[in-house]
Symmetry: C2
Subunit: 140 residues, 2 copies
């Protein structure tokens, strides 16, 4: 099999991301693997209260902050990470990036990664489990 | 977080198990973790052709052989493994064993682990992703 050399870590800035980042550190150290942190700004999010453009701007800012925070947690453990701020459908963007970057593994939280409403549509981790072409760690 | 020290690896003897065993080896070496191999004989399997008792006997024999084969693959890499032959509902038995043995991680294949018909009911990996209390690697 291909060794685990590149790990994609989708984040959403929720409290659940913390454990995912810990896993990313452990896996990166254990396998001597690169880490790519990704935050996907969802275009398709229903927006009632704010102007769509303004809302996406806020989300992008939040995403950038989430990625920077995670990168600094990794830096404390002498780990470097590439960060990617994407926009679109969250599952599609993760799968697209995993392919483009030739990742061997995706580490994703079981909770988090989206609004409560998304639970009804099936969680991101469930969708990735079905659609991802690379192996997946679901952090509980 | 708790370190990855004990890994549960459900096998079904299908060709897909091969990659799962490779992952188990890699993870065991990377994390210096123990491996437990499990095969679950499903009681609930529909049996039309054979006597139920006879059928379960054949499955147990196949399960034992599957576990022994995997154990010998691991031994070639100087890795030891505990083997467990269980009987019951496959997802329940895996979750029960993960708890009882205090496993930190389950490594499971995306394919395999059951008859074609089970795809309709949702694969074992999907069910584990939803029900397992410990983190899960889904091998693609």
């Amino acid at each position: 099999m291909a060794k685990t050399k590149k790990i994609l870590v989708p984040l959403d800035g929720s409290k659940y991301s913390k454990k995912v980042i810990q896993y990313a550190c452990d896996f990166s150290i254990a396998f001597d693997a690169e880490i790519i942190l990704i935050y996907v700004v969802e275009k398709s999010m229903p927006v009632n209260l704010l102007d769509q453009k303004e809302y996406l701007k806020i989300l992008r800012k939040f995403g950038k902050k989430t990625l920077d925070n995670a990168k600094s947690i990794l830096a404390k453990k002498q780990l470097d990470a590439k960060i990617i701020l994407a926009q679109g459908n969250i599952v599609n963007e993760i799968n697209k990036t995993a392919k483009k970057e030739k990742c061997d593994l995706i580490i994703v939280g079981n909770k988090g990664l989206g609004a409560v409403g998304r639970v009804l549509l099936g969680s991101v981790s469930n969708k990735l489990a079905q659609s991802s072409t690379c192996s997946l760690v679901i952090v509980k």
